[in-house]
Amino acid sequence: MNQKYLEISQLGKSFPTPTGPAIIVKDFNLVLAEGEFVSVIGHSGCGKSTVLSIVAGLTESSDGAVILAGKEVLEAGPDRGVVFQAPCLLAWLSALDNVKLGVDQVFGKKTNKERIAIASHYLALVGLGDALHKRPAELSAGMRQRVGLARAFALSPRLLLLDEPFGMLDSLTRIELQDVLLELWAHDKKTALMVTHDVDEAVFLSDRVVMMTSGPEAHVGEILQVPFARPRNRHQLMESPELYELREHLVGFLEDQAHSSPPSLSAPKARRSSFWDLLRSRTVG
């Protein structure tokens, strides 16, 4: 097994502002072994989604590099499956056609029948075997996100990237979908990187949980090893005192970060620029 399947080295992201660059992420280092599931937790706006987006190739980094299976990531590609908070399904296509759209791109050499089989297979895996021909509007929010998961896994990506995949669901539906995700993951043994702010979700799914400091200049603050054996059983885990120790540790980290968080980016320290002053006087007046 490749111990350095995904390497994120000295990753940085900054945006130019009139008062100098706003440094969102600085010196972010992380290495994932093949088949590993790693979560990144941190407060809203700390830059965790920025990191994920750079690994996905959807955002350009300012510094550092991302190397996946020995090749540098420079743009988006089907070797990385992404699941966003909103499943972004095409409203006029059925669940099956939504999944098949990606399958057609990646498995162009297979016959149409085989491509349909792949798409239906993954929809069955997420429990939508009976809803293949339903359109997004006929599905609940939880079911739509199941389609999103099926679509990502159906492409057989090298790396799975999940950006708060269950953030829009109620906490019980979230638990349901975590079970679905865990089964899919165990089945396909994908390397996965997930961003979340749900501490329970991070512990239940991951081999390691990366705690990110609050921005600006966000980086890896601490890494927690999750000791639970796999396959994991939710019921057993929820009764284990150890789970609650990990949970408390993670919540403690987040609380400390909330209290120590520096002034927000939207309020630059030095407001010398006449442009900002002008803008401010205009809005207030």
Binding site: H43, V106, K110, L169, D170, E176, P241
Partner: protein, 275 residues
């Protein structure tokens, strides 16, 4: 005698059977939390208790008398705050106080309004309109409005579900204080099991719809005040949390058997990319 009760209540909207034969009896001073999935029928349940809607069959009663309409003895807090956008935080609360205590002198009404604006910590924002307040602050205004009318029962419909995790935790602690010190009877519905355990004397799960029913109740004897972090060390917290989640997930999986093909599919196929 129960202060608020549902007797064998069923409710449908069109062809959708939402609640099926629900019976619930709430004692005075008790904090009852109903936990269930989104869309299970929790809001319908609160609407029936509030008298905003009528059951198709069965009865809703308050102190033994049938509930036919909303009344000041049953205050409601909604998920979407339902504040009047053209009134300030203070005026929103004052309006409720004027409705309920119209016989009071003006000075006493103002004092009542001020007391509850203070109770939710919004003195600094009392003259702001809802659009100038954050979600958490709006919900605090809604809470102050409901409490200032001094209802006998406070009905809360997912009051914190629209808020981010940090704000939610802060307001949960506020609700815990209200539950502990106000002596009010409270019925709260939520999809958050941790929130339920933090607040409840009794948790009753509502099975996944359609035709939702109430499941087995869980009495919570964790001493108050309850502190979020300390709960992690409570065996009762761990046990109830697991049981409530297990029960609710089972109501979703068992009847539809929707995940049955999974095991078969898992063993049947392995697909490799053709590239």
């Amino acid at each position: 005698m129960a202060i608020l009760a549902l007797h064998d209540v069923s409710k449908s909207y069109g062809s959708t059977h939402v609640l099926s034969q629900i019976s619930l009896s709430v004692e005075a001073g008790e904090v009852v939390v109903i936990v269930g999935f989104s869309g299970a029928g929790k809001s319908t349940l609160i609407s029936l208790l509030a008298g905003l809607d009528q059951p198709d069959s069965g009865r809703v009663s308050f102190r033994g008398k049938p509930v036919r309409a909303p009344g000041p003895e049953r205050g409601v807090v909604f998920q979407n705050y339902s504040l009047l956008p053209w009134l300030t935080a203070f005026e929103n609360v004052e309006l409720a106080v004027e409705q309920v205590f119209s016989h009071w002198p003006k000075a006493k009404r103002l004092a009542q309004t001020e007391r509850f604006i203070g109770m939710v910590g919004l003195e600094h924002a009392r003259d702001r309109k809802p659009a100038q307040l954050s979600g958490g602050m709006r919900q605090r205004v809604a809470l102050a409005r409901a409490l200032a009318a001094d209802p006998e029962v406070l009905l809360m419909d997912e009051p914190l579900s629209a808020l981010d995790a940090l704000t939610r935790a802060t307001l949960q602690d506020g609700l815990e204080r209200i539950a502990r010190t106000s002596g009010k009877t409270i019925v709260l519905v939520t999809n958050d099991v941790d929130e339920a355990i933090l607040l409840a004397d009794r948790i009753i799960p509502l099975s996944a719809g359609p035709a939702a029913t109430l499941g087995p109740e869980f009495l919570i004897s964790i001493p108050r005040p309850r502190e979020r972090r300390a709960l992690n060390h409570s065996p009762e917290f761990r046990r109830v949390r697991t049981q409530v989640v297990d029960y609710l997930l089972s109501t979703k999986r068992a009847p539809s058997a929707e995940r049955a093909p999974l095991a078969a599919a898992l063993s049947a196929i392995t697909l490799e990319p053709s590239t």
